[in-house]
């Protein structure tokens, strides 16, 4: 249990997707203009990562990993070269499902996402979640925790950036820094802050 909890914390903070690994920055910057849309993105990321990582674990372990076909008398068969294409398929389907759910039950959130919701299909942080899961040979339980943890870490980071950028609407910035310029600087400063989590994890 403590192992899972520490995996959760490390996925959310130490290996934070946007601020430590710099993954998924396009949506991170694009949808953090207002805290509400940032929160929507955070929830969507948590949902998609929490579903796709375990689902891809099942597909990888059950069909693609070396040795997955031992029961059929083919122990040397290795289909892991198919993992990228299979993962992307699963992610695309999950995003489509999410889009339908949002359209049906939360049309306002759906409208605020606009074009960025379909773009989650090719969001690198989401694919990275599944690839890390394979790379680090997580078990099923671990993959659930890892997916939810990294999604939540993304949500925390994007809501924080959204809150800061919302406040900056009243700041008198030099013209060249307004908009994305200051967002990049903020992201850098926040990632310095998140680097301290890595330091804490190392010193333990």
């Amino acid at each position: 249990m403590t192992d899972l909890w520490s995996l959760f914390l490390s996925a959310a903070f130490v290996d934070n997707m946007p601020l430590t690994l710099f993954l998924g920055l396009c949506t991170f910057l694009a949808l953090s203009k207002r805290p509400e849309s940032a929160l929507g993105l955070g929830i969507a990321m948590t949902g998609v990562l929490g579903v796709t990582v375990p689902l891809n674990w099942l597909i990888y372990r059950g069909l693609l990993a070396p040795g997955a076909w031992t029961w059929a008398g083919m122990p040397e068969l290795d289909l892991s070269y198919l993992s990228l294409i299979a993962f992307i398929g699963v992610i695309a389907a999950t995003v489509q499902l999410l889009e339908m759910l949002l359209d049906r039950f939360f049309p306002a959130v759906h409208a605020s996402f606009g074009v960025f919701l379909p773009l989650l299909t090719v969001q690198c942080a989401i694919l990275a979640g599944s690839l890390f899961m394979v790379d680090r040979s997580y078990g099923f339980g671990e993959s659930v925790v890892f997916g939810l943890g990294s999604g939540l870490g993304f949500a925390v980071a994007v809501v924080m950036l959204g809150a800061i950028r919302g406040r900056l609407a009243y700041a008198d910035l030099p013209a060249g820094l307004r908009g994305l310029g200051i967002a990049f600087i903020l992201t850098g400063l926040m990632s310095l802050g998140f680097a301290s989590f890595a330091q804490m994890a190392m010193s333990q």
Binding site: L63, V90, M100, P107
Partner: protein, 407 residues
């Protein structure tokens, strides 16, 4: 071999499984069946879900104008929509509609996807206009290498509601055209050869509708006069990108042919008042301005009128004698044509330069440019240059009226 076979099977299995799962969810989540659409509380229509409102209205022969062809840029298809079925305005609509219009539930029909029952209000004139009517081409002649004047005989009193500045919609049927077969009058053949426009081909599989401004003078009653500019592709790409679908077709019609039109529509009109009027036009931006100037001068106005018109070379300048005659006839009207790129053989003695530069040069000498009213019509580049010039001259935006061809 088994690896390839099994690999393909696995991927196919995953994709088919995902698709089936999605379809199952979709049939559960998204409602299906027709929705009810009320138009002006008078017509009660049934429409499919997920279809654009503009297409539904056109399908029921309600000719909502859409000069841009439903791309959400011209803003002509404004309608009032009530009901949840229309969803929230898209980003494209927010660029076109003012906050006041959005509060009043005005939407662009071409950007509104119907997902449930709703009620729509369209201008009454459009509802009674029907789906367009057939009229005959009275005359057609080339005015400039790319501009053709087409006069349509209007049946009955179709133009009884016409006000200068209005436009009509013209529908081109499905057709196929090879420009090499197009007959051109002698003076225009050479520019066509040089530009390679004769190599263009165009084919259109379905009926397409576009809006064109009327260039009517008072003496043109009973007919509709259009200046059609052929929308040619950028230089050097004549064989890749097809030219405009409706303008190409209008280059093929001859006197006696039948054309489907609807209208007139429009909200680009001369404002009543006593202020001096400055007209700035370029290309076929001539059409509505010509109608307005003739209407004003014919109505015996004593407002001072200046008309700045920009063309590239002397060959692109048309109706020039007409405006020279008007300027001789009316002391308070002045005609200021300018060529941006006069050809050496043009023997051009008038102003040279872009029309916004000519306008700036003359209006800086004007006693009070901010006291005038400005009517602009021309290509979007010209409009934005003139708007910037007027801003420098201190003209308030509410004294500027323009029609930028729905771009």
């Amino acid at each position: 071999m088994t690896e390839i076979l099994l690999g393909s099977l696995v991927i196919m299995g995953i994709v088919v499984g995902l698709a089936m799962g999605l379809l199952a969810f979709r049939s559960r989540l998204l409602p299906s069946g027709d929705l009810a659409l009320d138009v002006n509380d008078r017509m009660h229509l049934r429409a499919k879900r997920g279809v654009k409102l503009l297409d539904v209205l056109h399908g029921f022969d309600i000719p909502i104008p859409a000069a841009c062809g439903g791309k959400g840029t011209c803003g002509l298809c404004r309608v009032t929509v009530l009901g949840d079925g229309a969803g929230t305005p898209q980003a494209t609509e927010r660029g076109v509609l003012s906050p006041r219009e959005r509060r009043a539930h005005v939407r662009l029909a071409c950007q509104t996807t119907l997902s449930g029952d709703c009620a729509v209000w369209v201008p009454d004139g459009i509802l009674s206009a029907g789906s367009g009517f057939a009229c005959t081409v009275a005359s057609a002649r080339m005015l400039a290498p790319l501009i053709r004047e087409i006069v349509l005989d209007m049946p009955d009193d179709r133009l009884s509601t016409f006000r200068a500045g209005d436009f009509m919609q013209i529908t081109a049927p499905a057709y196929r055209l090879d420009f090499a077969t197009l007959e051109l009058p002698e003076p225009f053949r050479e520019p066509w050869e040089i530009a390679g426009w004769s190599e263009m081909r165009v084919s259109s599989e379905a009926a397409v509708t576009r809006a064109y401004s009327l260039a009517n003078r008072p003496e043109d009653a009973g007919t509709a006069v259009f200046n059609i500019r052929l929308a040619v592709p950028p230089p050097g790409r004549e064989t890749e990108i097809p030219p405009g679908l409706v303008s190409s077709w209008l280059f093929t019609v001859n006197p006696g042919d039948s054309v489907t039109a609807s209208g007139p529509f429009g909200d680009f009109h001369v404002r009543p008042g006593t202020r001096e009027m400055i007209f700035v036009g370029g290309g076929v931006g001539m059409a509505p301005l010509r109608a307005m100037i003739h209407q004003e001068l014919g109505g015996g106005t004593d407002r001072r009128i200046r008309y700045f018109y920009g063309a590239r070379a002397a060959a692109d300048l048309f109706y020039s004698e007409e405006f020279e005659a008007l300027a001789r006839q009316h002391k308070h009207f002045s005609w200021r044509p300018a060529l941006s790129d006069p050809a050496p053989g043009d023997r051009w003695t008038g102003a040279s330069g872009f029309i916004h530069e000519i306008l700036q040069a003359e209006m800086t000498r004007h006693a009070a440019p901010e006291e005038c009213e400005y009517y602009l019509c021309g290509p979007p580049v010209m409009i934005s240059a003139v708007l910037a010039t007027l801003q420098r001259l201190g003209v308030e935006p509410d004294a500027i009226f323009y029609d930028d061809f729905g771009a």
